[in-house]
């Protein structure tokens, strides 16, 4: 049982001692993309071979979370403890296993697989949320503790009051990373002020946005960090119970989280009287069912309660009337992952990163027509152009960039000529898109923007819960209208109707799904009107 910071330090130093008996670590990425190519089998087979050759004293084979550069799957890195030097290899295949053993045994490098870490992809990132991804073994709580894990929680419990924790979060300027951007500290303060015997902390891990996989990576790579963030939130607001709502389509994330919860309970980090204080906190997992609308706060709560995920009118907000009618804090996975570093290093430290109104970093999932597909974490305020062209490596095969899309079905497209804007909540909103949860899709000249708009509208149509008419009927009508443009059979009046209907659906829908569903259409009309006009038949 861990009862104090000293206990944590003891575990950390013990862990470091046992680790030092192994000179090096061979870190195999077991994130989704690498796992799809068989990295878990590779990790096991390497561990077995190391054992057979009796190299355990020399090297430890360890499975780690996503390192980010998914296009170089499978990624394996060797870590030299004495010099704190990591060498990363990409595109490793089963056939390379023996060469990896030669690397351990005789330091023979795999020169052809070496990744250059002096490129912007590695140098221009700033890792806070993903600080442990690719380093810590997600299956091992001690490894997390050895990397400053749970230190923030125990500091909060031993040295801080609820108000002080909330003050730190407010000072940090952290805003909700699910896309909305509501100040996290304010949200917590509201719930603290509401009087109630029972309050809840809910973590939204229902990443339904197609093209986004940031939260999945965090849950798979560093599950304890989410538990720690939630427990701190529980302490700050006086809640004793937390729920993580995870997509059932993410079995690895569910497995890692479950394992992490069990380990934390065993160590007394979750449960009653944590760190010998009066604070009780426990977390349970609830599986989602593949409904995008459940990313909406009230729908998510309905789903945890075992109902259809229908949103309801707000107010009352969740801070007053949330899960089972009790005051509830709902934050996204990435938001909770930011909490421990903020408490550990102070709100002012966090505030200094990023821009005035959007502090800290943001994780993006870069996909589409881009060289370096994968996950990147960058400070807010970096220009989109740097993000795409430098870190992302630009469009491959000499293609020309046409537009990027952020925010998924609720976001919009940003044309190439506007890429110099900074990445922050307000700048993205000003050009008709949103920050969203972090999916960033790059499209080259071959992409037809009307078809892209239709793709997202079709998504919203099938994900509409059907409760309110503007969204249910509107998204269907809009999809049909867009079809006419794609078939080049639209009339001028259809174009007017399309624009009008977008506004109606935005204004009259009950929840965020409907209110934002027209965004992809409106933003493509704004920047690529020509492509719509080409779909109009002239008689």
């Amino acid at each position: 049982m861990i009862q104090s910071i000293e206990d944590l330090e003891e575990i950390a130093s013990k862990k470091k001692c046992t680790e030092q008996s192994c000179k090096d670590e061979l870190r195999v990425c077991i994130g989704s993309s690498c796992a799809a190519l068989g990295s878990q089998e590779m990790q096991k087979s390497l561990a077995k071979k190391v054992k057979e050759k009796e190299l355990q004293g020399k090297c430890k084979v360890k499975g780690v979370g996503c390192n980010g550069l998914c296009s170089a799957a499978i990624m394996v890195s060797s870590y030299d403890k004495a010099n704190k030097k990591e060498v990363i290899y990409g595109g490793i295949e089963t056939a390379d296993e023996d060469r990896l053993l030669a690397l351990i045994e005789n330091d023979i490098e795999l020169k052809d697989k070496l990744l250059d870490t002096n490129t912007p992809f590695f140098t221009q990132q700033k890792k806070i949320v993903l600080e442990n991804a690719g380093i810590v073994d997600p299956n091992d709580i001690d490894d997390y503790i050895a990397h400053d894990g749970y230190r923030a929680l125990f500091t909060a419990l031993e040295e801080m009051s609820s108000n002080e924790v909330i003050e730190e979060v407010k000072t940090s300027g952290l805003r909700g990373r699910g896309g909305g951007g509501y100040p996290t500290g304010l949200k917590w303060e509201t719930v603290l002020k509401v009087e109630s015997d029972q309050k809840y902390i809910v973590c939204n891990g229902d990443e339904g946005d197609p093209g986004a996989f940031m939260d999945r990576a965090v849950m798979e790579a560093d599950p304890h960090k989410i538990l720690e963030g939630m427990a701190i939130a529980g302490f700050a607001c006086g809640a004793s119970k937390g729920f993580i709502y995870v997509r059932a389509e993410y079995p690895i994330a569910v497995e890692k989280l479950n394992k992490a919860i069990t380990q934390a309970r065993k160590k007394g980090i979750l449960g009653n009287r944590i760190a010998n204080s009066n604070f009780d906190f426990d977390i349970e997992i609830r599986l989602g069912g593949g409904a995008f609308v459940c990313g909406e706060a009230t729908a998510l709560v309905a789903s945890i309660e075992g109902n259809r995920g229908n949103p309801r009118q707000k107010p009352p907000h969740l801070s007053d009337y949330g899960l089972w009618g009790e005051p509830t804090i709902l934050n996204n996975v990435e938001t909770f992952a930011n909490i421990a570093p903020i408490i550990r290093n102070g709100g002012a430290w966090y505030k200094a990163i990023g821009t005035e109104k959007s502090s800290g970093t943001k994780v993006f999932a870069l996909t589409g027509h881009i060289q370096n597909t994968g996950l990147v974490e960058v400070p807010m305020g970096i220009s989109l152009r740097d993000l795409i062209e430098k870190i992302g490596g630009g469009v491959p095969n000499g293609g020309k960039l046409k537009a990027i899309q952020t925010g998924g079905p609720s976001g919009g497209c940003i044309p190439e000529n506007m890429l110099d804007i900074p990445v922050d909540y307000d700048s993205l909103k000003a050009v008709g898109s949103i920050m969203g949860s972090g999916g960033l899709i790059v499209m080259d000249e071959s992409s037809n923007m009307v078809e892209v708009a239709r793709f997202f509208m079709d998504f919203s149509k099938s994900e509409s819960c059907g409760k309110c008419v503007p969204c249910r009927v509107g998204t269907t009508e809009l999809t049909e209208l867009l079809d006419k443009f794609i078939k080049k059979e639209a009339k001028q009046s259809d174009f007017d109707l399309l624009k009008e209907m977008c506004v109606v659906v935005q204004d009259a829908s009950l929840c965020g799904l409907g209110q934002t569903a027209p965004n992809p259409v409106l933003s493509t009309i704004k920047y690529f009107e020509k492509e719509y006009l080409e779909g109009i038949k002239n008689d």
Binding site: S71, G289, A365, T373, V452
Partner: protein
């Protein structure tokens, strides 16, 4: 097999018990039931409704609301084409269409001889490998149309 003698119901019962037979246990219970039975047939839904003291309409309503739940059995093989944004812009539609025309069924359906189900996924999160399809739980990435057609023939061989 009746409810009493079928061990699979015990698994379902276990989940409900763990969550105290509370009505909020419904979705978790449906997940367990689908995992155990492969899909959710009416008998199973009725059993869950009885045990959680919920109207059948409510259980059915929830089961049909979430895409993850299947009310019909899957075929012997499954091919899931990811239709996430990254896969979409890299040509997943063509792969899906070729599957649909090959077996004469629409996405989400199973062939009459129960040989194969052609399904779609919203996003499997392997966007860097786009386009991706999952054949009987095995993900295959960076698919071309030819490869997709070849893989499916091998699968049903």
């Amino acid at each position: 097999m009746t409810v009493q003698t079928d061990d699979r119901y015990k698994m379902v019962e276990k989940t409900m018990k763990k969550l105290g037979y509370d009505r909020s246990a419904l979705i978790e219970t449906l997940h367990t039931a689908q995992e155990t039975f492969g899909y959710l047939e009416n008998e199973t839904l009725k059993f869950i409704a009885r045990r959680l003291k919920l109207p059948f309409s409510k259980v059915y309503g929830v089961a049909t609301f979430y895409h993850f739940f299947r009310l019909k059995p899957k075929g012997k093989h499954t091919a899931v084409v990811c239709m996430g944004t990254a896969c979409y812009i890299k040509g997943a539609t063509a792969i899906l269409e070729s599957l649909e025309s090959r077996f004469g069924i629409q996405a989400g359906e199973t062939t009459k001889d129960a040989l194969i189900s052609v399904l779609t996924a919203r996003c499997v999160g392997s966007c860097s490998l786009a386009p991706v399809a999952i054949y009987d739980n095995k993900s295959v990435g960076k698919l071309t149309l030819e490869e997709a057609e070849k893989t499916i023939e091998e699968l049903i061989k």
